[in-house]
Amino acid sequence: MGKSTRLAFGETIAQLGEVNSNIVVLDADLSKSTMSSLFAKKFPERFFEMGIQEANMIGVSAGLALSGKIAYACSFACFITGRYDTIRISVAYTKANVRIIGTHAGIGIGEDGTTQMGLEDVSLMRSLPNFSVCQPCDEIETRELIKYSVEHNGPMYIRLTRQNVDKIFDDNYKFKFGKGVQLTDGNDAVIFATGALVAEAFKASNILKEKGYSLRVVNIHTIKPIDKEIIIKSAKECKLIFTAEDHNIIGGLGSAVAEVLSENYPAKIIRIGLPDVFGESGTPEALYKKYGFDAESLASRIETQLKQS
């Protein structure tokens, strides 16, 4: 098991602080959880503890960005994207160089339950003009995405996990903004996965391989702007199409893929995610099993569909 993507973020931003003095980081009393504390320790003069004031933190980030800084505003995905109108006007409408870091995304956070889970955040942020929406799948991809984010022009939403995730990539991995990454070859089905579900989809492909099926796993780290090319190509080449995300099935990756295909290559899509419900308390493992996000559940669901097709 690798690190959580929030830890990879904290480590990377603390390193980047040395090379780029325009980076500033803000947190709303969760720096030890979002891991922005690693930056705070090294660069106290460029770290702002905003207290439990997410809306003010976002506005202050916009002001910092409009006067020349690259602002990383950190909190749990649900709390920070919940201050939507401030993000909409102060950040999106001005194209400010604010990176909204939403950690503790999805039911994968576990025991704390629904009020702490970011379950609709991708949907919210995806609908804002000028915003990019990214979700890395492992520590390496997170590191490379955060490095990229320093150079990006315009607002970004970056969605991270509380729980540890498997390492998918090695140190040579090259992150390409806006490009999907095909992880396995296959034609029976394709699964477009994002975040923590990439590792589960990858494991599911191995389970299915043993049963004689080939599953193509495509990691979508940039949900907006989405890689239309890889989606259309994979849809054309595979018999069945799945999406998988630890997020409401409404408005997230599943919706984004459906939008691309309905306009370009109409095809049936099976969206795996939270079926428009809130989460609940439980261990991350128990929750993933209950909602069908773990590798065995994914493999079994795909196999059932393959048998029916």
Partner: protein, 277 residues
């Protein structure tokens, strides 16, 4: 530096521009534009001294209009300085114009921030003041808020946070014209006792007549000397100031005058020019 008489003359001339622009647009907010114009004229001409040359200088003093609906007053000033044309001012709210109904930073960078969803501008101003502190720059940041928007929770988050960072380079001016869309502020959601609240939040608080240039000048002078503390100027103003039938009349918060009303308003404002000149 302009004399107070000169500033009064400019403000009254800009009152005419504001009424003309809103009247032509057939929509807009005259009440809060007319209440704010004296303070803004002083601020732009004598305090931050905005010119064509320094308008986008990275070290310029910043101004954020948090009460975005008062933007006709700001556009009138920008036109006077020559940052936008008079024609653009008169194209207020017209499709394709940079003079959007509320400030849009991407359309017109001279407005410094996109505002108009109330309660947000002060946070943005705090961010700019923090940048000045980090970069050890001497520019100051000014933010005008409205009384209605001071009911927003985010404003109080911002008021709580600025003193923590010792932002003595930040100055808030409240255009306290006492009314908002649904009625008088004291009835809709009273802010009082405001001065005591702000002092309890550790601000340097001043209270002035927002139409008196001597008091405005004095307040900005004190704000510049405030050591370690952000300054909050409670500026008592009159909504619709300068046009008798608009003054203190809630009805004129967000309504454009018709042709006849425009004529009456302009006649009154013309008389102010003659009287003052």
């Amino acid at each position: 530096m302009y004399t107070h008489n000169q500033l009064q003359q400019i403000a009254n001339e800009l009152r005419i521009d504001i009424i003309k622009a809103i009247s032509r647009a057939k929509s807009g907010h005259p009440g809060g534009s007319l209440s704010a114009i004296d303070i803004l004229v002083y601020l732009f001409f004598n305090e931050i001294k905005r010119t064509k040359e320094n308008a986008l200088d990275p070290d310029r003093h910043r101004f954020v209009l948090s009460k975005g609906h008062g933007v006709p007053a700001l556009y009138a000033i920008l036109a006077r300085i020559g940052l936008i044309s008079y024609e653009e001012l008169m194209n207020l709210r017209v499709l394709g114009s940079r003079t959007q109904g509320h400030p849009s930073y991407l359309d017109l960078p001279y407005v410094e921030a996109s505002t108009g969803s109330l309660g947000q501008g002060l946070s943005v101003a705090i961010g700019m003041a923090l940048t000045a502190k980090i970069d050890k720059k001497s520019y100051r940041v000014y933010c005008m808020t409205g009384d209605g928007e001071t009911q927003e929770g985010q404003i109080w988050e911002a008021i709580l946070s600025a003193p923590k960072f010792n932002l003595d380079n930040l100055c808030v001016i409240l255009d306290y014209n006492k009314s908002q869309i649904d009625g008088f502020t004291k009835d809709v959601m009273d802010l009082e006792p405001l001065k005591a609240k702000l002092e309890a939040f550790k601000w340097n608080v001043l209270e002035i007549d927002g139409h008196n240039f001597a008091e405005i000048e004095n307040a900005f002078n004190i704000a510049r000397e405030a050591n370690g503390k952000p300054t909050y100027i409670i500026a008592h103003t009159i909504k619709g100031k300068g046009v008798s039938f608009m003054e203190d009349n809630v009805e004129w918060h967000g309504k454009a005058p018709n042709e006849k009303e425009t004529e009456l308003a302009l006649q009154e404002l013309q008389k102010l020019l003659v009287k003052n000149g």
